[in-house]
Symmetry: C2
């Protein structure tokens, strides 16, 4: 079975302005790799309705699975749920089960369940809720799109809830070799090796730090035996 | 004059697999914000020709400026220059000025200027070179697209070369207030304030750490006086 393909849509002005450095993308990339889901594209867009709807429709039509992060809180700039409803052409309203979860939570905390917080119970028609053990306000899944919070602790908990429902393929394995030569010296033999092992992916990632330079060559694939064979050959060439 | 809009295209399997955490996006976001360039979208795609060409054509048609990072080294997976040529419908070949730069560099270093390294002198027709003071192999500008290296030290040097050529608007200023209340409590008044000051952008970024929770509210805009006025009002509400 081929691995499912995936994309991520990060919604947030704060990342595009440089104020915040995104952490969720890196987390999701690692989780997907471990679980055999092939993350092929990430888009980061600002909190603008047209941009979110267009990106969401492009990604959900192209990939098996889409994960979004950000924009599902109670404030005026949290417009993700409305954009998802628009993209899917469905209605959106406060839903009883989501409202009940939030009402119980704020009651336990002795906090007011006001109009702003009620916004977080607005769920597009036909979606199923994603559990939020951290701060209760749920995410949701509709079609092939999983809508999650931007706060890293909540995002990570939601990913943990959803991952078992995504049927992954074999995990993508990788081995790497640090080679203290310029990429220009290894490029020729490396290209030939990559052609010979065309069921594997070969990446070369140059580095340059404190006067030392070289490249990390990474070989990725699903068959551990083939990886070993290719890595042995690579090490013989440059070890 | 309205601020120019910009997008970034990050090319690299290593980020999508979680192996590397991108640093260039965060750097560029900060530089653009300081120089009054409005970064509106980032896409990260893998080292696949069709994906790179499609993303590049979509972004260059939508935004005033596009910056790419990654994929311009000497190895078989460095296909960015070819993809840019394809996207623009122009030819690509080794160019004399780029070859001369590289030949002199490898001569100084006592290193062989081999076929793989010659790849880095392949430049799409009609492009102008971007200086690389770190490792010499140039980036290039074609149309509204600036093609830069993925190694952070080189990327940063290339951004410094190109920024003066991008005519920015007024820098985007921001002020923020850390409010130790749940977003659900501040959402109502904050939304009303955002409506009143509709020439400014209001963002609310919740945090939750070690049992403390609240939100950083950020107000952004180009007029320092308006920002001060709005921030004073915000502080009166929640200070």
């Amino acid at each position: 079975m081929p691995n499912p393909t995936a994309a991520m849509l990060v919604i947030g002005d704060e990342i595009l302005s440089g104020r915040t450095r995104d952490a969720n993308m890196h987390f999701l990339a690692n989780e997907f790799t471990r679980h055999g889901v092939d993350l092929q594209e990430v888009r980061i867009v600002s909190d603008k309705r047209a941009a979110i709807v267009a990106a969401l429709n492009a990604l959900r039509a192209t990939y098996d699975v889409v994960v979004t992060s950000g924009g599902i809180g109670p404030t005026h700039d949290d417009i993700t749920a409305d954009c998802v409803a628009e993209a899917f052409g469905v209605g959106i309203d406060v839903r009883d089960d989501a409202r009940a979860l939030l009402a119980a939570h704020y009651d336990r905390q002795g906090m007011e369940f006001n109009t702003a917080r009620m916004r977080m119970a607005r769920i597009p028609a036909g979606a199923t809720l994603i559990d939020n053990p951290v701060s209760i306000a749920p995410g949701f899944t509709i079609g092939n799109v999983h809508v999650m919070a931007g706060v890293p602790a909540v995002f990570q908990a939601m990913v943990a809830s959803v991952l078992p429902t995504i049927t992954g393929g074999a995990p993508l394995l990788s081995q790497s070799l640090r080679i203290l030569r310029g990429e220009g010296e290894i490029a020729g033999p490396l290209g030939a090796l990559a052609q010979e092992f065309d069921d594997l992916q070969f990446g070369s990632y140059p580095f340059q730090k404190d006067g030392v330079f070289g490249a990390n060559v990474v070989i990725r694939g699903h068959d551990a035996g083939r990886l070993d064979t290719a890595m042995t050959r690579l090490a013989e060439m440059f070890g």
